[in-house]
Structures are given as C-alpha cells and as structure tokens.
Symmetry: C2
Subunit: 121 residues, 2 copies
C-alpha cells in the first residue's frame, strides 16, 4: 500500500483533509448521517450557519461524493440531502470525534480556564 506524507501540501490525503477542515463540512455531514434532511431544516438546525455557507458547503460535499442531493417535483420544490455510502464511512469517524468532544469538553474547558488564570496572575 502506498503511503503518503500527509504534512506535504501536494499529498492527496492532505488535500482531502484540507477540504474537510472547514467550519461546517464535518458538522453537516454528521447531521446527515441518518434520515434525509431538507435545506431549510438544516438551516434552522445548524445554529449559526448562513444560507450562503450552507448552500456552498452542501455543494462541496456533493461534489466530494459524500452526500446526495435529490429534488422532488412538488410545488414548491422539495430538496432532500442524504448521505452516500462513502459519506457514511466518514460520518462514523466524525461521530467518534464528536463523542470525544462530548466526553472531554469539560477537561478542555478546565484547561482553558487554568491557562487564562495563570496568565492573569
């Protein structure tokens, strides 16, 4: 198996990693891990995201083959975003990452408080 140097910018692995290291991609992918979700529902649920960034991030994820966009000919039109098999494999990893944050959030916040305290004194 071919091994890459992930710290080199030309490395394909690094390219993918960079693509996903933005503010919204992994969070949205995680939200889509279950049932399909509609655009405006995502907009309501993902706190703090703008319509523009949601639209842009969904398009990128679709381009990466991680999610699928399906439009239904209702009036007005209905659009559902769902996860692909490829995306599914990634979202389970993201789930582990979020679980980590869930489990260790307190420790991180405590470390931050202690760090800030040391600076102030």
């Amino acid at each position: 198996m071919m091994e890459y140097n992930v710290y080199a910018s030309a490395c394909p692995t690094r390219m993918i990693f960079d693509r996903l290291s933005d503010k919204w991609s992994l969070l949205i992918l995680h939200r889509l891990r279950g049932q399909p979700v509609r655009f405006n529902q995502l907009l309501r649920e993902i706190d703090g995201i703008s319509q523009k960034m949601l639209s842009q991030t969904l398009k990128n994820l679709e381009r990466d083959g991680l999610i699928k966009r399906e439009a239904f000919p209702t009036v007005p039109v209905t659009v559902e975003y769902s996860i692909t098999p490829l995306g599914k494999t990634l979202s389970s990893t993201v789930g582990i990452l979020i679980r980590w944050a869930q489990d260790n959030g307190d420790a991180v916040l405590a470390a931050q408080a202690e760090y800030d305290e040391r600076l102030a004194s």
Copy 2:
C-alpha cells in the same frame, strides 16, 4: 450521562468542535502524537503553514490542554512541543480521520472529477 445538541452554538461540545475545526489544529496535533517536536521543525514539516498560524495554533492547543510547551535554557533557546495524555486521546481519533482520507482519497477525487465533468457537458 448528559446529552447535548451539538448543532446548537451554545452547546459545549459544539464549542470544542468549533475550536478544533480550523485549518491547522488537528494536523498539528497529529504530527505531535509521537516524540516532542521543536517549533522550526514543525514550521518546515507542516507544508504551507505560516509562522504566525503555527504560533497561534500551538498556543490554542496548549490552552486547550492538548499539548505541552517546554523551553530549555540553551543559547539560543530550544522549545519542544509534546502531546498531553488528553491530547493523546484526541490524536488517535484524528489518526482514524487521516486514515480515512488515506483510504478514500481516490474515491473523493474521482467523485469530484465526475461532478465537474457533468457540469462541463
């Protein structure tokens, strides 16, 4: 166990997740998973990072309790960054994420190419 809504911006888990969802944090953490590394070595190895962002990201990771900074009174001064036990638990998850990118990079690039092809035609 308390459960949070990770999609709400006030959620502690979401706050931690947001903190780590920047361009460099996870990559640097991953690089530090083994032996301690010095500042300029990181600067050389992490392709594309600027001195400013390296400095800033290291400071944030230290504040989060994920890495440790140690200065040695040599001339000129030597500084080593190493991972903490808390950081270790996160870096193994990041390793899984990078492994995913390693294994599925080709599939993503293929999806991107196909997507672009569909648009061009």
